[in-house]
Symmetry: C2
Subunit: 305 residues, 2 copies
Amino acid sequence: MSPGADTLLAGVREKDPRAIGRAISIVEDGGPLAASILAALEHPCCEAALVIGVTGPGGAGKSTLTQALIAHYRTEGRRIGVVAVDPSSTLSGGALLGDRIRMMRHALDEDVVIRSMATRGRAGGICAAAGAAVRVMAYSGCEIVLLETVGVGQAELAVVHLADLTALVLAPGLGDDVQAMKAGLIELVDAIVVNKGDQPAAQALLAEMQAVAAATHRAVFCTSASDGTGVAQLAAGLGELADTLRQSDRIALRRQAARSIEVMDWALELLRPELKAAVAALGPLSGEPQALARLAIARLKATEE
Amino acid sequence: MSPGADTLLAGVREKDPRAIGRAISIVEDGGPLAASILAALEHPCCEAALVIGVTGPGGAGKSTLTQALIAHYRTEGRRIGVVAVDPSSTLSGGALLGDRIRMMRHALDEDVVIRSMATRGRAGGICAAAGAAVRVMAYSGCEIVLLETVGVGQAELAVVHLADLTALVLAPGLGDDVQAMKAGLIELVDAIVVNKGDQPAAQALLAEMQAVAAATHRAVFCTSASDGTGVAQLAAGLGELADTLRQSDRIALRRQAARSIEVMDWALELLRPELKAAVAALGPLSGEPQALARLAIARLKATEE
């Protein structure tokens, strides 16, 4: 291992926020130390952390709920990580989810580690980056890592599959788009959270979700994240759900599937620049795209490893 | 060319809706006739169609506006295509954008060709599929193809780059999420449409967008798609914008860039199954994901073309 990675990893173990931030950046950008850091993260402590996915449409109050869950877990003395995958932010900054959570509270609490990951402006690799970030946080002693995504786009939803279990956050009054999206999102998750439970329309949504849950074996919770109502019950329920999944080996199976998603994502990320070079080497692109793609692939395969 | 493709392409030229639908499906699924169909689409008529991107957050009224634009273009006697890229739908059906447009009107008008493309449940390839669908529609005589996406996810936004020019649809009252997303979306587009212009808060949004537009050289339009207000002005404005872009060769440049995006997307799609097989051949995945990915790539390159 290079000495740079060694020092950095020691800093991560000592929960130094700067070391944690740098380690994630190096892995995300594929810097020279990335391989050493990734190898060190294959450590039993990284397996011990529970990864809880929190997804849902914009406007459901995911950030407020995440923040309320953090507050709850902190009263239990647990160290918490948050990886916020955010299609609205750019790589250069302005991440919405993470910043929102960060700005609310916990900014000075070193046992809350928050990282935003942009998907906009990025060609791919979000699963690879998010998986690595989760493990950096676990390596720094986080017992629980919340993996927060806006459940809308193709790339963002793929991240959901990295979690050990996932909660879908909904709220009343989110409009037709969400209505149409709901069934598809419910398929992907273990638990449904009806947030903004203090709003008048919440009871109807809750009743609807309870009917759906009865038919699909999902857990349903009702919260009002802004004042903390129902958050302790949600945290307890997610913990019980994790125990059940663990006992039936389903978490182990999900982690195998997650590893395979991460490997695919890394492979595509590693291939992308080579493929781009192969496409560029074709010269001005005239002709049918699929045929041009086959030429680029042949060229790629002919290059030395 | 195989006789099957020949017959199908003749059907597409004759504007037979079933032939058009089948041709798009074959290309989207990569069926055996795909290569012949794609080759035939390298035809001057496909170059003549103007591809207008329509993007924006959920709730802005994109479907209603698309529907109003269709109605306007139909009064001018133009044949219109719509490719609706939709993260909320699944591959098996239930596409939201396309169905909404289809159900509103035009269901019996054979000069309106509508196709929904799901991104959910799909690992990639949406740019490849959308590009091919646009050309099938152009080949069938569509003068204008509207490429409608929900501007939220990484994969969905990539599709925007396939259009000759793009309009961002916003509406008042879409909440904080959209507020944070706005600047990033404006970067990607040529025109901003403030829809739901009859709502009281629309004037403030319009004033804000006019200020943004003055600073960033975007065109701004105000519509109320539900009653058609401003739609003719929008269509005229987009036409003028297309002329300006054409005169400065920018549409030609964008098409080169779009072709390169499509080729990359096809290449990744073609590589994906090979890569998946290479990952599976590694056996149970234990160890560091990036290192495993490198092994899979080496295995991929060693396979015969």
